[in-house]
Symmetry: C2
Subunit: 420 residues, 2 copies
């Protein structure tokens, strides 16, 4: 498939400047970005008049549990601890691969409608989930979801197998969190990281209690523990990163680790505020994710960007005021790098064609004082006109090209009854 | 005009229950809500198959400055004080009635795309603004915008004139804030309130500095000052309400005043967090608004509802956890009552047909564990299929019926250059 987008504004995210011109794709990649030029020798499968709308890298949802759409609005008004133990774990015990397949497809529909082209997903029943992703054409990076209740033995098998399953699928080592993973299992993870020289991710310092518990058990914070145990020797990072102290940040900075922020979930579960401004000031790698629909409850990266930009203002007298460009970079380039998707970070020839088109005619994108600020502070999924992954248009003007939405809604609402 | 909506889910907001059936309109009002019934004697102008989508009262944006769309993304990363004096006031000085006309139309387009059917708007050049509202068919409640720099003399004239201008237009007494209004002018407002037995609104306790300044000037908080001066003798309320103490809340409670929350603006301008949970606990009347696009930067009531629900969780150890139904009520019924629109609060026969239709097929509205939670925690303007004001459909499936969007975008982007 080859597509010519013309009359476009293009925000490549290589810098904050917006160019006017064309973007061409060939197969799964971008073949040209630049001014309109003669192309009579090329036969495109489609030529799309962008009418001044904006092409930008697809948003990267750098921390989610896609199949948790089953738990959207199922268990509101809990703190993390109660939410997990009273509402979520008992239901998750009933989930089958079939549930994960359909509830992930529901998540993909929501991602695509919101300009998201890839997710970094920690969950189980991964094989059936991978089938859902490939059928959809969605780029899915699995993160290991092991903890003391299961998943340790399969980590290596997944790593080997899923990393050669399909170009859309990859697997990164990960585990749930320190508080659900004993020292022996942490050691086991560290050994895997060393064997494969691989990065590792986990939920980290999401709540104050988590950090206090870790200090009680080991005398140090989760970040320092993982660092000391060699888990971070080949990179990786953590999700949430709310209760980091300055030393934790130094470790992230020095090791080039990725801090992935999840502001909506942290608000909803009363976990606290990540000091996004400090991570940016220190030059730490950052990315943004929605967390699962059970604790957000949306999979809306625009709302995440707004909160990543503004929540920090509560932490500093007089406001922290981070740059909206840094936030948009975190939600695109930063996420891609965190997930190991270096070829999906910016728009440039040779990079994967993972693109979303923003409706510049939407009132909330006008007037045009600053397009990047408009996206970060005013954007919502309703401004997304088209989403393309690996050169394939998956969503356009409210329609799904690879997902039968009626079927997904009917199956997921039917299957829901089995796990309530 | 008469419309028959059938195959609908209907959330009347008289309670939290959702009924299945039909809603009919006749002229500007609702004529029937209930099960499908024989209606062969009635000729409707339109019959709309809702296909299971949800009808609910239109959202009421209970605090905004519509024409400030000109300042969207124009002055990010300021605290309120600097933002007003360095970025906003100098530009506002250049605004003409023509600017206000077009930038308000831009705001109406955004409101309608986001399910908003009425706004409570504090701004100037009201006559031309009223024309824009009537042409659009949008319900616009003006709030007096007087302060020491102007507007005091016109208040009474506006009150008399705009309240009989058109059924879509009304005017409520208001002034900017204590810190821009001297004691004589406050007295003048109080006298007007008494003369007309009318409610009064103002920005109140938005920042800590505002409250401290008032205490320095008068020895008491703005709420106590207004109360003492008789400004609240016939009701009204305030916008923002971030730095209320318990006594301020008691005054609001005892007088039945309305606290209007603006979480996004308060985050973006680093003003703080309103203790929404406390207002709800105490049974104080509450409503929700976006504030202007210069400090939000969207006019997105869904994002406001999410923040009104969740920001409080940061204020209470272990989470405050307010009910999503209370939040949705604030954004519909509460807003209507604050604005004096008692006939636009709930869906019921005889009430005005101010309605929005929510797309229940949007992935973010599924699965259906709890529709109200889905709206409050996951909703965004992209889930709005149709918006009707006073029985007239103004927005449907992305199209505007009374606004020429191309013209509004082109005029507002052109006029912008005159005020930069």
């Amino acid at each position: 498939m080859s597509v010519r987008f013309y009359n476009a504004q293009i925000l490549t995210m290589e810098s904050d400047s917006i160019i006017t011109g064309e973007l061409w794709t060939n197969g799964d990649s971008i073949s040209y970005i630049g001014p309109a030029q003669v192309h009579s020798d090329i036969e495109f499968d489609r030529e799309i008049d962008c009418k001044g709308n904006l092409l930008m890298p697809g948003l990267k949802n750098a921390h989610t549990h896609s199949a948790m759409t089953f738990s959207r609005s199922l268990a509101d008004n809990y703190c993390l601890d109660d939410w997990l133990h009273k509402a979520i774990f008992p239901r998750e015990a009933k989930l089958t691969p079939e549930h994960v397949y359909w509830f992930s497809k529901l998540a993909y529909a929501e991602y695509l409608a919101g300009g998201v082209t890839a997710c970094f997903d920690m969950y189980f029943h991964k094989d059936r989930n991978a089938e859902a992703a490939v059928e959809t054409g969605f780029r899915h990076v699995f993160c290991g979801a092991a903890n003391d209740y299961g998943g340790m033995e399969e980590l290596e098998d997944y790593y080997v197998r899923l990393n050669s399953f399909d170009p859309l699928i990859s697997f990164v080592y990960g585990f749930h969190a320190e508080y659900t993973t004993c020292e022996d299992n942490l050691k086991f993870i560290s050994d895997l990281a060393h064997k494969y020289k691989a990065p590792v991710y986990a939920h980290i310092s999401e709540t104050k209690n988590e950090v206090l518990g870790c200090i009680e058990r080991y005398g140090i914070s989760p970040v320092k523990l993982f660092d000391k145990m060699g888990i971070y020797d080949f990179g990786g990072g953590g999700f949430h990163c709310v209760w980091f102290d300055d030393e934790d940040m130094e470790i992230y900075k020095n090791r080039g680790l990725y801090a992935v922020f999840n502001g909506c979930s942290n608000l909803k579960l009363a976990s606290g505020i990540a000091k996004v401004y400090k991570f940016i000031d220190k030059g730490i790698n950052i990315a943004i994710g929605t967390d699962g629909a059970g604790s957000n409850n949306a999979l809306n990266m625009f709302r995440e960007m707004f909160l990543a930009s503004t929540l920090s203002n509560l932490e500093v007298d007089g406001g922290a005021f981070v740059s909206p460009y840094e936030i948009l970079k975190a939600a695109t380039v930063g996420g891609a790098h965190a997930m190991g998707l270096d070829s999906c970070d910016i728009l440039a020839p040779g990079k994967k064609a993972d693109i979303c088109m923003i409706d510049m005619q939407h009132p909330t994108m006008n007037p045009v004082n600053n397009t990047i600020s408009n996206i970060v502070y005013s954007g919502h999924p309703g401004i997304v006109k088209l989403t393309m992954v690996a050169g394939k248009i998956l969503y356009e003007d409210g329609k799904y090209l690879t997902i039968d939405l009626d079927e997904v809604l009917s199956e997921s609402n039917k299957l829901l009854k089995e796990i309530l």
